[in-house]
């Protein structure tokens, strides 16, 4: 049964209706903010900070999409690796940039084998990657909850004060490496609008490296295998291998991403905190214009900017009109609406 298509101007259908709605929503939010004389500079400043904070986690999705694995709902796996790195470095008491580097280093070292194993599993469960990834992430996060309780960490700043058993739910980074990257070369462009230079540089550098990677032979091979398995086979490429490589890269980036996130946020969140972290990141890249089969660095940056700005602005703006925090509700609707939209459009162009 052929469905009649709504006649839409080309530029709108190109841009995508949901993306348009989200952009309009953001404009309205800012308009209200201006009209009600809110601290616009503070809002912009906050938005920029949040882009830097979340950007790498969004970037982590790109290799998986480009490698044909699809939306990596298993992002928490890499996040857990980064968290273990962070906790180990905190337990050893490494401060400052060295602490961030140590956390990242350990996280990446764990993420490489974890990503390889995850990629292998995804090859065995082709066609169900999203579901397997989601629940593998859930299972790992809940398994680690048991681990955090039982882990033999002794540093008193990390474990519960009473009883001295098990890690705390949130570990404060104050005085350790709270905002070390955010503060590095930080400057004010207009009064009240601060730029978290270090974090943005790291995000930008990783974006550039990923972009560069997809221009090397291995990167081109990975992307080619994504586009057509049979093409890949004809060119002598093992698409199973390229998918594992893509998954590993995604997992490694997630590990780096959570360390950068934590230093910017000022806390390391354990237990159930990473459980749902994949979903907002996925919404970001989709809002940016990515599909389940195709994503670019531009999608990562635009999507993170749009979605994180909405989350930043929605709370103060709506709280002027109504009491209560509508931003969480708005996040649920926008985030999951966007993912649903993408899921119903697989295989279309």
């Amino acid at each position: 049964m052929p469905r009649p298509k709504l006649p839409l101007p080309g530029f709108i259908s190109e841009f995508g209706i949901p993306r348009l709605l989200i952009a309009v929503f953001l404009v309205i939010l800012f308009a209200v903010a201006v009209a009600t004389h809110m601290d616009l500079r503070g809002l912009i400043s906050d938005s920029i900070v949040r882009v830097g904070r979340n950007g790498i986690l969004v970037l982590a999705l790109l290799p998986a999409i480009q490698g044909g694995v699809g939306l990596n709902f298993g992002l928490p796996l890499g996040i857990i690796c980064g968290l273990v790195g962070a906790v180990i470095s905190l337990n050893a008491g490494v401060h400052g940039i060295a602490g961030v580097l140590a956390a990242t280093g350990i996280g990446v070292a764990l993420a490489i084998p974890a990503g390889a194993a995850y990629g292998w599993l995804l090859n065995r469960t082709r066609g169900q990657e999203m579901m397997v990834g989601t629940y593998l992430g859930f299972a790992i996060v809940s398994m680690m909850s048991v681990f955090w309780l039982l882990a033999p960490f002794k540093n008193p700043t990390l474990v519960w004060a009473i009883g001295g058993r098990g890690l705390r739910t949130t570990l404060s980074l104050g005085g350790i490496y709270d905002k070390v990257l955010d503060r590095w070369l930080r400057f004010e462009i207009v009064e009240g609008v601060w730029i978290p230079t270090g974090t943005l540089i790291v995000f930008g550098a990783l974006c550039f490296l990923v972009w560069l990677f997809f221009r090397t032979r291995m990167g081109i091979t990975i992307a080619a295998a994504r586009s057509s398995t049979r093409f890949a086979r004809a060119a002598g490429i093992s698409d199973e291998r390229t998918r594992v490589q893509a998954t590993m890269l995604s997992t490694v980036l997630a590990a780096i991403g959570i360390v950068v996130f934590s230093q910017s946020y000022g806390f390391v969140q354990l237990y159930t905190a990473p459980l749902l972290m994949a979903f907002p990141a996925i919404a970001c890249i989709l809002i940016g214009g990515a599909t389940v089969t195709r994503a670019t660095i531009g999608h990562v940056i635009v999507g993170t900017l749009l979605f994180q700005s909405i989350l930043t602005v929605a709370l103060p703006v709506t709280s002027q009109v109504i009491q209560g925090d509508i931003s969480e509700t708005a996040r649920l609707i926008i985030q999951n609406g966007m993912i649903l939209y993408a899921l119903t459009r697989v295989g279309r162009t």
Binding site: M131, L149, L150, I333
Partner: protein, 373 residues
């Protein structure tokens, strides 16, 4: 025949081995429960009293999963949406102040059209995301949760007129975090209560609730043997062949989703009348995960599940649910560990089932390709 001794023995051993393998999941799980019961020194009366209640309130939600599996939609993570329909009805009857069995009946009636509507929407969504129904159902549940929050946290009392001081937040709109369902509590459970003492512990058996569950089991079994059930079964095996045979696959997929959503709404109401309070914003959230994990621990799969498995799974999973915090406390001196552990088990069981299913279907696809050669 006389010389068949050793041969027969091997066959028999093979059968036992295969039987064990086929039932590995429930056997492993039963072992885990037994281990927990032993280390936590849980007494049979305590366990029985807990289990009678938990089985009565969870079984229908698990049964709600069977029909979509039959129709090839996989595990319906969208039953969360059905649970929301049930809760909407529960909120309304408390608002109108209809108590007791009448209130429960009214809630049941109200929930039905809401669930049908939401089921049609979900089913249509599934039709647009073929092959990805499970992840779509999961995300649709999250999305519906956002809309539900928007309605009950912001629209109720502001846009929608709703003025029960006891239910609305002090600011004048938005529902409180809990709604007291005291007026319909035990509306079904308490109809023919059976109570008896066992080693000093009072055990209550809600006879009518069990009767309701029995009726739903029978209806499901009856449905499997109807023409529509046969159509669903055919679709579940191969939608293409079913379509060639003239079965309206897309329409039937929506019907299956609707049936599941309605059953989930009723199941959630049965659950709530036992609990007696509604956590407005969280009662529904874990419904899908717990029901699905319960079904899967019985050895059911993404593509095959029976009524018996639904019941067995409910028993096993909720035994673990009762036992694991106590076992955690007995083993590590911390109930928290047991709580984290049972959540881990729920997720792990689902993960393993999904992996096995995806693994098998990927292999089946490879073999099918090989066969056409």
């Amino acid at each position: 025949m006389a010389r068949g001794g050793p041969e027969q023995g091997r066959v028999a051993r093979g059968l036992i081995g295969r039987g064990l393998l086929r039932h590995a999941v429930p056997i492993l799980f039963a072992g885990l429960c037994l281990f927990g019961i032993l280390v936590a020194k849980i007494t049979p009366p305590f366990l029985l009293s807990e289990m009678f209640v938990r089985i009565s309130r969870n079984s229908v939600l698990v049964l709600a999963l069977l029909i979509p599996i039959l129709a090839g939609l996989g595990l319906n993570f969208g039953i969360v949406i059905g649970a929301m329909a049930g809760q909407i009805a529960a909120i309304l009857i408390v608002h109108w102040g209809v108590p007791g069995l009448a209130g429960f009946g009214l809630a049941w009636l109200l929930a039905t059209p809401v669930a049908i509507l939401l089921g049609i929407l979900t089913g249509a969504l599934f039709n647009r995301a073929k092959g990805r129904e499970m992840v779509t159902g999961l995300i649709a549940g999250f999305f519906a949760n956002g809309v539900y929050q928007l309605i009950f946290l912001f629209a109720v009392g502001s846009i929608i007129p709703f003025h029960s001081a006891s239910m609305v937040l002090p600011q004048g709109y938005g529902l409180r975090n809990t709604v007291d369902l005291g007026t319909i509590q035990y509306a079904i459970d308490g109809l023919i209560p059976l109570r008896f003492q066992m080693q000093g512990v009072e055990i209550r058996v809600p006879i009518v609730s069990y009767a309701v569950i029995a009726v739903f089991c029978m209806l499901t079994l009856f449905f499997f043997r109807t023409r529509l059930g046969q159509q669903f079964r055919a679709m579940g095996q191969d939608p293409h062949v079913a379509a060639i045979a003239g079965i309206a696959v897309e329409r039937n997929r929506i019907v299956a989703t609707v049936l599941s959503t309605v059953l989930a709404a009723w199941g959630q109401l049965l659950f709530l009348q036992n609990i007696g309070t509604l956590n407005t914003y969280s009662s529904h959230e874990q419904v899908g995960m717990f029901a699905i994990a319960a079904l899967l621990v019985s050895g059911a799969t993404v593509s095959h599940a029976t009524v018996g498995q639904a019941l067995l799974g409910t028993v096993l999973f909720h035994t673990l649910f009762v036992v694991s915090p106590l076992a955690g406390k007995a083993l590590a001196g911390d109930a928290q560990i047991g709580e984290f552990f049972r959540v881990f088990v729920a997720y792990a069981v689902i993960t393993v089932a999904l992996v096995l299913h995806a693994w098998q279907s990927a292999r089946a696809a490879r073999e099918a390709r090989a066969e056409t050669r």
